[in-house]
Symmetry: C2
Subunit: 353 residues, 2 copies
């Protein structure tokens, strides 16, 4: 049985949910997946940082109600976060990057990933920024250091659409995709179908915790644009940057637009898509579209996300599931660690042979 020592960078909702899972699921994972996870370091801008080579008790970590700088009171702790030192010096096999997404240059998460990979540590992340902006560089860096860079949770949280396409559709010839990739905007559109105006629907999403205080990234399509870049680069072999993808949100749709569509059996959806053109180039876009009954994305309701892959041999193949959520996103990190474990086990068998 294998133990992976992990360092958590950021201790907000997602990494806290991962620690909660570790506190209760390690025996199950040991039995079913062949490994346990051991938290040897945590760093968080608010709480500070801590290194504990023998491992921190996950339950204590989750249940202690740390105040600002609270990690400073732990053995091996520091009231200040020092991400660089933690990433470079903690005795971790895997760095779990779950800090905030910066859509402009991906920092500081891109640096976090670079430091980890250059230190010979695997990286798993749910952070769209470094994947949308620097996946090609970081994948090359991982390869050069014989470690893995995995990021299933950067799109659709734990719904494994990236790995599904890569592990199960080889030879089906993916030609493009369309997706509902932002739960907040899809929720807002659903409430507008039920009669609310845009502002009221956004206010309700905020009250329910779906939308942030500034809902711009969700409703203007900027969040979806990063996900289109990630999926186009990953599934279609593109090399898009966010500014290459045209981007229109839903804020200009009126209740009468929505209701006019409904009268003809159609629904407005915010669709992120990419397609391979005849000349081999890839075009990505984010735009509201009227989808007819029978389109694979028309029935996707509420905060659910979905991606429909258009394939040569199968036509559309669609996966839907959660697109957000603490535990759901923490599962993405687990699924990345499973992928690393399976690849490591194969390597180990190879070396032993």
């Amino acid at each position: 049985m294998k133990i992976y020592n992990i360092a958590l960078i950021g201790f907000g909702g997602v990494n806290r949910a991962l620690a909660e899972l570790i506190a209760i699921k390690n025996p199950l994972w040991e039995r079913d997946l062949g490994f346990r996870l051991n938290i040897v370091a945590v760093s968080d801008l608010h709480l500070g940082s801590v290194i504990s080579p023998n491992g921190l008790d996950a339950k204590t970590l989750v249940e202690a109600n740390f105040a600002k700088g609270g990690f400073g009171r732990l053995s091996g702790g520091n009231a200040e976060a020092d991400n660089e030192a933690i990433i470079k010096t903690a005795p971790a096999d895997i760095v779990v990057e779950a800090t905030f997404t910066n859509p402009m240059d991906g920092e500081p998460a891109v640096s976090h990933c670079r430091w980890a990979l250059n230190s010979g540590k695997h990286v798993v992340t749910t952070n769209k920024g470094p994947v949308a902006i620097a996946a090609r560089e970081l994948k090359a860096l991982a390869k050069a250091n014989s470690v893995h860079f995995e990021y299933e949770g950067s799109v659709m949280s734990g719904t494994p659409v990236i790995r599904m396409a890569e592990k199960t559709l080889a030879g089906a010839e993916v030609k493009g995709f369309e997706g509902i990739l932002n739960g907040t905007s899809n929720f807002v559109l659903g409430r507008m179908e039920e009669g609310l105006d845009f502002a009221s629907a956004v206010a309700e999403a905020q009250a329910l915790g779906y939308a942030e205080a500034d809902p711009t990234a969700d409703v203007e399509g900027f969040d979806v644009r990063l996900k289109v870049v990630i999926l186009a680069n990953e599934l279609l072999g593109a090399n898009l940057k966010p500014e290459d993808v045209s981007c229109n949100g839903i804020s200009k749709l009126s209740p009468s637009d929505i209701q006019a569509a409904a009268k003809t059996g159609r629904r407005w959806k915010l669709v992120g898509s990419a397609v391979r053109n005849a000349d081999g180039t890839i075009t990505g876009s984010v735009a509201p579209k009227q989808l007819a009954l029978g389109h694979p994305l028309t029935g996707v309701n509420g905060a659910t996300n979905a991606v429909s892959l258009n394939t040569e041999l199968l036509g559309p193949v669609t996966m839907s599931g959660p697109g957000a959520g603490r535990v759901e996103t923490a599962y993405a990190l687990l699924s990345d660690i499973v992928a690393i474990h399976n690849a490591q086990s194969a390597n180990f068998a190879k070396e032993a042979a």
Copy 2:
């Protein structure tokens, strides 16, 4: 670059579509997947059988309009089918089983699989019979002979739901599933929503080639029952036989049932499902159910199939795609061969190390 020699057992729509793909796609597969396929034998009850150790030209095989017993006129051919001899003696790496499904004992396909596995040949099949009735035995036989038994196409044709669950959802804790697993019955229900009575909707499905002359297996749920057995055994570790799964079809639904549901935003669907009970046992069933708006299967229209996996950490994760079709089902065979190739490549690397 690897060449896999394959023997086609049955030369109906599916294996003929595979031969059509081989005729045009081998160069693409060589580049993208790392192998070519070479047809070294074919056996078909109507056409006879042929063995050609250097390989048959796929294009010729597809385009020649063979009459009954027509393989007898080929070099190495025989006007009679001799499946046993072909399977045991053809110089094939992989036996591609695509004969008719026998829902009672799975024969003769179960014997075809046994002969192939005992001869040290991999088996890929789209045939529900041997998988629903003998998967456990055949998997053990494959393991004992160090070969693979793969059957993605036994459920949802080429839509890779089995491999998706196994390769991408480890640790998500699948607790059960619900599926729309028969396109004909789903098409019939859709037409009944539009006002047709059951008999007229079935007649239309027959006219369009969706339903067979005897539609019993589709509309009474027997086809779905085999798929429930396959998925329950595969994804939930059950050991169900078809007779363990309760089975009710859609023939007793009236247009007024359908329309009463529609008035409350619900839709009748023929749902195949299985669930892990508190005591660890698995219960499978096939039954028409009224699904509410928002259920992941409610929007599945026409001949599309879908499976929604209920998971502990992600909630429902749903995959939809084609459930039938010649090329779509042939793709399932290709995806099985990709899986074998990837496993063989890993083994080869291990042995070379």
